[in-house]
Symmetry: D2
Subunit: 105 residues, 4 copies
């Protein structure tokens, strides 16, 4: 059984548990993983938007867990939002614009 490859937009919030209070070094490392894989990204205050083919997005999230463990982080908790749709493509920017254009001035 082979499925069509869907384009996904994901949002990753990754936390190292039992390390220091600053999580930004880990988030920056993950951002590099996505960028080096050719995925488009957008960072915000509580996570990172990621756009690309679903298998590649998930494989990069796996790599994020792996590289943080390699760096000595013993426990990781991620929260991932993941959306795919077949009716039409919508990029990170289009999704943001869809909301912005509807906000009452």
């Amino acid at each position: 059984m082979k499925y069509q490859e869907h384009i996904a937009i994901a949002d990753l919030s990754i936390s190292a548990i039992g390390e220091g209070r600053s999580l930004s070094p880990y988030v920056a490392k993950c951002l590099n993983v996505f960028t080096q894989a050719g995925l488009r990204t957008n960072i915000h205050a509580l996570g990172t938007n990621i756009e690309g083919p679903l298998p590649k997005v998930l494989s990069c999230i796996e790599t994020c867990h792996n590289i943080l463990h390699e760096d000595g982080v013993a426990r990781i908790i991620s929260n991932i939002r993941l959306t795919t749709r077949t009716d039409r493509m919508q990029s990170i920017e289009e999704k943001i614009n869809a909301v912005s254009s509807k906000v009452t001035p």
Copy 2:
């Protein structure tokens, strides 16, 4: 028992279930709720960052559910990330800059 009021940064992803495929009108309405309450916001592809006092942030999220139900949405599922810290204040912009400054060029 009375607690100190903590500043929170939240991130809301709200979905209407059983309505149309477009969620942006609902997201835009919620954005107005936060803005009118004087909370700082930042929209991204899969949610809205919200910054302000914890009780006010949660009360506005409650209002978001209420106004969508008033609009006729029968079922709502939200995903909320919520962070508070007592060691120092960190705004939406400071959190984004903390990551950006660590990314390998």
Copy 3:
């Protein structure tokens, strides 16, 4: 503007950042907050289901952040799923049974 009070089912995953690797003591304290408030709960491997009136559920989540900070936790990140519906009531057990009854044996 006064809204009808909706019954919510929430799911809380709470993490202390920069403390030890074990999160279960914090989860247990939060469980007590919900129980003492008369809310129904159900724990699972990555969170706690909570059932009750929406304002009370959110107020208890606020209390969870407050008591962990009082206990000396400097940084907290929660992930909350929150659902409300106006078409019918559905308890924690009914939601679990709705899935179980549809699983292919």
Copy 4:
């Protein structure tokens, strides 16, 4: 670069957007995906715990999106909590017991 395969505990909450109000048929289909892949599961009111090797867990989540799209669902939003740790193994049951044993009677 090859990483050690980590055991993950994930929690999946999957929503079909723009379809009916009942999500339990979709949750049940996903549960079958995990079971058929030999992964251990535990359903609760707002999601499904899944235990197994990280690559297999993520690959099954990808399959869940694929089969729902094949079934005609045009838009899917998932929320995934994902935890891995290298200091020790902890099963779904052990995680639940770790909390239960700390609750004040």
